[in-house]
């Protein structure tokens, strides 16, 4: 296993700059998640590390050694693609054995058999070994794909949204399995996704990427509790954070277009004339004696909790309450705002620390 460092990686494709000055490091044995929307540059980052794409500037180091001049084969990484990595004409066994049969490795057949069987056991697919991959379910195919990466015991795992094409329930199950596998193997893993739940639940460390730039690197708690930009704050957390235009006047915070005003000490400390208030839905709680009035615009019951869309003046706030509700659309409600965890951002999106 290995630690990985990316230094100032820049990659351009004709007119588009896919990666701009991307730097981060992954410790040996860490589960590192690269989180970002489609097109952010996540796949390009993985390909640069694997050696499938050559970066224009910057360097990739494995255990402090630059590996930029090594071929993909020599880098000893395993790449789990989102799709198209299982050979449809081969059996599951042959697919799993394929990496071991590469001329570079020269593994004897009996050893190949043992390793394939062990890997199949770990992923609970031993009963599928003789089947052609075309006859597998989505979840089974993904297990085989992961198995192909594991069987090699490489120094680094690169995973490109491996769960994205699976049903929601399968995704949940495989998420747990993958994380468990990673922890027991102690494998250094770089996992790429657009799904923030995957990032929060699986990552030891998360790097948020948008349009080729790293916006923030931190633990799930860091990213959730102290998002560095409005983009990070909006991306992470479900339902999404309420981002409201606000300004300060006479030590009181006024939310634009709404009756919400909060007397907040921060207002005394020289806030910009107009800024953004980040308010997580769980911090907006309807209460009969609540401070502010609003109207229920939409109700989304999720069983364990309910999302309320509360209209306050021109703004609509998302509120997250536990369990079910008797509230109906159009009801007039009163709500409170919990002030312990407010976030403030400048108009340019950067966080204002208090």
């Amino acid at each position: 296993m290995t630690n990985v460092v990316l230094q100032n990686i820049t990659k351009r494709f004709r007119t588009v700059t896919a990666l701009k000055d991307v730097s981060f490091s992954i410790k040996d044995g860490e589960f590192f998640v690269l989180l970002g929307p489609t097109g952010a540059g996540k796949t390009t980052t993985l390909r640069v590390i694997a050696g499938l794409t050559r970066q224009d500037e910057g360097s990739v180091l494995f255990d402090e050694e630059p590996i930029d001049n090594l071929t993909p084969a020599d880098r000893d990484v395993a790449f789990v693609f989102q799709q198209y990595s299982l050979y449809p004409t081969m059996t599951v066994f042959d697919n799993l054995a394929f990496p071991l049969r590469s001329p570079m490795r020269k593994t004897p057949e009996p050893e190949i058999r043992t390793r394939v069987e062990q890997t199949a056991e770990k992923l609970r697919i031993e009963h599928l070994l003789e089947r052609k991959t075309a006859h597998l379910s989505g979840g089974e195919m993904q297990r085989v794909t992961i198995g192909r990466a594991i069987v090699r015991d490489p120094r680094l795992f690169l995973m490109d949204e491996p769960l994205s094409n699976l049903d929601a329930k399968l995704r949940e199950a495989l998420r747990v399995e993958l994380k468990h596998l990673q922890k027991t193997q102690g494998s250094t893993t770089l996992f790429v996704t657009h799904d923030q739940i995957e990032a929060l639940t699986m990552g030891d460390l998360i790097a948020v990427l948008n349009r080729g730039r790293i916006l923030q690197i931190g633990t799930p708690e860091d990213i959730y509790d102290r998002p560095a930009t409005t983009f990070v704050a909006t991306l992470v957390g479900t339902p999404r954070i309420n981002m409201l235009k606000a300004n300060c006047e006479n030590s009181t915070l006024y939310v634009t277009g709404s009756t919400i005003r909060l007397p907040i000490p921060i207002c005394e400390e020289g806030m910009p004339p107009s800024f953004l208030l980040g308010l997580r839905p769980e911090d907006v709680q309807p209460h009969s004696g609540g401070e502010f009035p609003g109207e229920i615009a939409l109700i989304e019951p999720l069983g364990v909790e309910t999302i309320l869309h509360i209209k306050s003046g021109e703004q609509t706030l998302l509120s997250l309450i536990p369990g079910l509700t008797d509230l109906r659309m159009g009801d007039q409600v009163r709500f409170n705002i919990i002030r312990e965890r407010l976030h403030y951002f400048r108009q340019d999106g950067t966080r204002i620390s208090v």
Binding site: L52, P72, A78, F79, F81, S85, P99, R152
Partner: protein
Amino acid sequence: MASFAETGPGSPVVESIRVDQVTPRAKTGLWARLIGAVVIAAIMLIPVAWMTMTAIKSRPDAVASPPKVFFVPSLDGFIGLFADRSQLGPAELAEYQQRTDLSLWEEQALVRGMKILGPSQFVGRLRNSLIISSASTVLAVTMGLLAAYAFSRYEIPGKGDLLFFILSTRMLPAVVVTIPIFLMYRAVGLYDTHIGMILLYTAFNLSFSVWLLKGFIDEIPKEYEEAALVDGYSRLQAFRKIVLPQAVTGIAATAVFCLIFAWNEYAFALMLTGDKARTAPPSIPSMLGVGGIEWGSIAAGSLLFLIPVVIVTFALRRYLLRGVTFGAIRQ
């Protein structure tokens, strides 16, 4: 129609099909199209059928007017094709008619008053066709495959221009360059050689094969090879183990097209070959006999010429069908 809307089809539908495709109207439409297709196919096969009949007609039947549909078959066409004959003078004729040791062929020839001199050049021509066509196909497909792979997977400067240039060679009617090539071949000593024809056909087929194969290879997701590269395979090994098996249908389709072109090629075969390397197409129509064109032999020759291609196409029909539609659906 109203009653169908109420009752539905007679038996339960257990296939995946749209509602508007099981109506009686749709069914009759299907039958109509099917019958239409069969009729059109039959019409298109009439010339081939006629040719086959002519191949086994005797000389008088072959040139009869109005044309004869029912006749007694005869080997005259094939004999004329495979053997050189000459007219017998009256004395020899009488002598031959007395003999009892004549082979089947000689007897047939005797019907027309001819004797067999020896084997004709046709078999040799057929062999030339075989050699030249297969060799040029193999070369065109092999080189085309490698070039197509490179064009598909690598960033080559001026790729678009190069590909267009390759395509543009097909825009030229081949006939236009027959004279220049004839002069060049003469000068270099490639006139009437197998190598010369092979090179020429390969060159012509290459543009087609590069374009066709590139289309097929583009369809193979490159993630497959990249996974192999990451796993420790070299480009060439990844190409052999992963791309090749998946490109087989494309290769088969391309090979058949290249083969057909080379096999049927007439103009260059006529201009650039003499005795040694001449292929079948120019030789078949030139079967002049004494007293007119030997239609029976020409038909027989054409028939035999047709057969290898038909066999190959039939053997690879599954690949061809996939090959023709392969590039059509984009994800």
